[in-house]
């Protein structure tokens, strides 16, 4: 959903705000839509949202920083989410995570130096009977291991 591509950022953000402002409690839908369009929530969005919703910039910042999903800087081009929750730990998720992070040379939330891959922890994907579970660019993977994650990432630039 990159409908804003090609437009100046401020104008694109305005369009998003305008299209969702009528909702009851519009802030989270607006933040999700901006992040979907720009892969993160640009600093420039804060005053625009604040003006539209009659909130201070600090209040908008407070909401963005509360939720794990919202980023203020872009992620890598590909996002790997590895489940860290108990059901996946029971079938070796810690080992999978150590291996994936070790191979890429990053820690949780880290991005590889070439900006290619970001690895995020996730606490449950609801795939608890087929763990360890992972999500690579939105695709769910059950009974995963480091080799499988490697194959998913192969060929992605």
């Amino acid at each position: 959903m990159r409908q804003t591509e090609g437009k100046p950022q401020a104008e694109g953000i305005h369009d998003i705000i305008r299209s969702l402002q009528h909702l009851e409690g519009p802030l989270l839908p607006i933040l999700h839509a901006i992040q979907t369009a720009y892969d993160h929530i640009p600093e420039a969005a804060l005053p625009l949202i604040g003006d539209a919703l009659n909130l201070t910039r600090a209040e908008v910042h407070g909401v963005i920083s509360f939720y794990h999903d919202f980023r203020t800087t872009p992620a890598g081009r590909h996002v790997v989410r590895l489940c860290r929750a108990e059901a996946c730990q029971a079938v070796g998720a810690n080992g999978v995570a150590a291996s994936v992070l070790g191979t890429l040379g990053i820690d949780w939330h880290g991005t590889t130096g070439d900006g290619r891959i970001t690895v995020e922890p996730v606490y449950c994907l609801g795939l608890c009977a087929c763990g360890p579970a992972a999500m690579v660019n939105g695709k769910v993977i059950g009974r995963t291991d480091a080799a499988r994650i490697g194959r998913e990432l192969e060929g992605l630039t």
Binding site: L27, L53, F66, A85, E86, V122, G126, C128, G138
Partner: protein
């Protein structure tokens, strides 16, 4: 020449997809084309036997026969008739032993076909509700004995009655679909496999309480459930199930989906309400109860997905039918989710009362690793660990409470003897620290100190276990919500049941 149409059912549930169901569906279409066979491919929810996924059912005109787990490579054998079938799903012991009320349609129907839904009993409950007074509807739910399936177990009918009796210009039904507990996936399964059931339950809740608007707050980690619910709501709107004139009754109910943003604490109802309003998802002090002053300050029913999705069958079959199942004050059925290191993982809907050990060993088939079961955690990351000597505990709210645990959202996570319970206790504190909303001190600070104290135990500090116990008492008694208040359950049960893992002799722990 026309041959009888072959119907092939492949799940679209995300667990099935995570195990390759989409590739299997593609392979089936290719194979049918190569053989010049006319087939109808129907994507369904999952039947809940996750270890058999992707589970494919084929109906050649004589009923549905299951195969699984199917891979793209094994598809030709199914067409040849040389693949070993599992038989009808209803005859598979894991399935045959269940009582499917809430999940009766899940895995059977095309989740987005309203005609399919009605053919299988859908909307009967709503049509009956439309002939009843709100008071009678609430009475029906009270009689059913339905209690909140999200974990707290509060009687649903009493909550509804409070909202019904509160005067306001607007009231809301909020469905809590922020299913963040590890080991649970019942909400996801029903939203992906039978979304109209949840919609019907929310409409009935609206009619019973005078609420005309509903929100389903779904966690962002469930993109498939979000997409399916979204399409189902659209279909419901187009067909007049939702809107200003529900099924021609003149009654109104409108609903929409809201997406969470990765905060576990938003599964707590007051935090969820703040999140819906576009605020930080911090917990609110109660009172006021959400039933009196909920979202946007209006009377609000906040119910879990399974509570609401169970309402239609209560109205379809009658409250007494539902209440006939269960034990003591735990009435009806519970979709128990068996997960973690388990041979037969999946969703097992059954009347309350089955002993925990039967669920783990008999139904679940023991560990997937073939090693002895060391512990099971029941009720998500805030649930207590149970050791095998407690396996005769019947699955019920009060029975688990008496054992120092909780059933929560009914997830059971199995661990084999390689699990280190000190590190599981540490993880519970770490998780609480990561997810704390920060509003109350026992949770915000306590969780951080909890991690440090467990590290001291690991380093051999003999004074640390007493300190941890004291800290857990403070968190349990002083936290505003279940996150800080219940984190002591897994921590203290691990310490109590597995002192060896904490470097303590049994005597020292007691």
């Amino acid at each position: 020449m026309s041959r009888p149409l072959i119907k092939v059912y492949v799940p679209l549930d995300s667990a099935a997809r995570a195990l390759g169901a989409d590739d299997v569906a593609d392979a089936i279409l290719r194979e049918a084309e190569a053989r010049d066979l006319s087939i109808e491919l129907i994507r369904t929810g999952t039947r809940g036997m996750i270890w058999l996924e992707p589970l494919v059912e084929v109906d050649r005109g004589k009923g549905r026969i299951a195969y699984g787990p199917v891979t793209p490579d094994s598809v030709p054998a199914i067409f040849d008739g040389s693949a070993d079938p599992l038989g009808p799903v209803e005859a598979i012991p894991f399935f045959a032993r269940q009582t499917r009320l809430t999940f009766a349609r899940c895995g059977v129907i095309d989740p987005l076909s309203l005609p399919d839904y009605e053919t299988h009993g859908g909307l009967i409950g709503l049509r009956r509700a439309l002939t009843m007074t709100p008071e009678a509807m609430v009475e029906e739910v009270k009689t059913s004995g339905l209690r909140g399936r999200g974990g707290a177990g509060f009687p649903t009918g009493i909550k509804w009655d409070t909202v019904r009796l509160t005067e306001a210009d607007r009231k809301y039904i909020v469905c809590n679909a922020d299913e963040g507990d590890s080991g649970t996936f019942a909400d996801r399964m029903i939203m992906e496999g039978d979304p109209f059931c949840l919609i019907e339950g929310m409409i009935i809740a609206g009619l019973a309480t005078g609420a005309t608007r509903g929100f389903v707050y779904i966690r962002s980690e469930y993109p498939d459930a979000i997409a399916i619910m979204d399409r189902a709501i659209r279909i419901a709107r187009e067909t007049g199930l939702l809107g200003l004139d529900i099924l021609g009754s003149g009654q109104t109910f409108e609903m929409e989906i809201r997406i969470g943003a990765g905060a576990y604490v938003c599964g707590e109802e007051t935090s969820l309400l703040n999140s819906l309003e576009g605020k930080r998802g911090v917990v609110r002090a109660k009172p006021p109860l959400p039933a009196l002053k909920g979202v946007f300050g209006k009377p609000t029913v906040v119910n879990n997905v399974i509570s609401l999705a169970t309402v239609p069958v209560i109205f379809e079959k009658g409250a007494a039918h539902y209440a006939d199942f269960g034990l003591g004050r735990s009435r009806g059925t519970m979709p128990i989710q068996i997960a973690g290191n388990v041979a037969h993982g999946g969703l097992f809907e059954t009347a309350f009362g089955m002993p925990l050990g039967d669920l783990v060993n008999d139904i679940g088939g023991g560990t997937a690793s073939d090693r002895p079961v060391k512990a099971v955690q029941v009720g998500g990351p805030l649930g207590a660990y149970f050791a095998p000597h407690q396996f005769d505990t019947p699955f019920g709210y009060e029975d688990f409470d008496a054992e120092g645990g909780l059933i929560g959202h009914a997830g059971i996570v199995v661990f084999d003897d390689s699990a280190d319970m000190l590190s599981m206790a540490r993880f519970a504190m770490e998780f609480c620290a990561v997810e704390s909303c920060g509003k109350c001190t026992p949770c915000r600070i306590g969780a951080v100190r909890g991690v440090e104290t467990i590290d001291r135990i690991a380093a051999g500090d003999r004074s640390a276990p007493a300190l941890l116990t004291d800290l857990c008492d403070t968190m349990r008694d002083g936290s505003l919500c279940a996150l800080g208040g219940f984190t002591p359950y897994p921590v203290m049960s691990a310490l109590r049941l597995f002192p060896d893992d904490f470097g303590l002799t049994t005597e020292a722990a007691e």
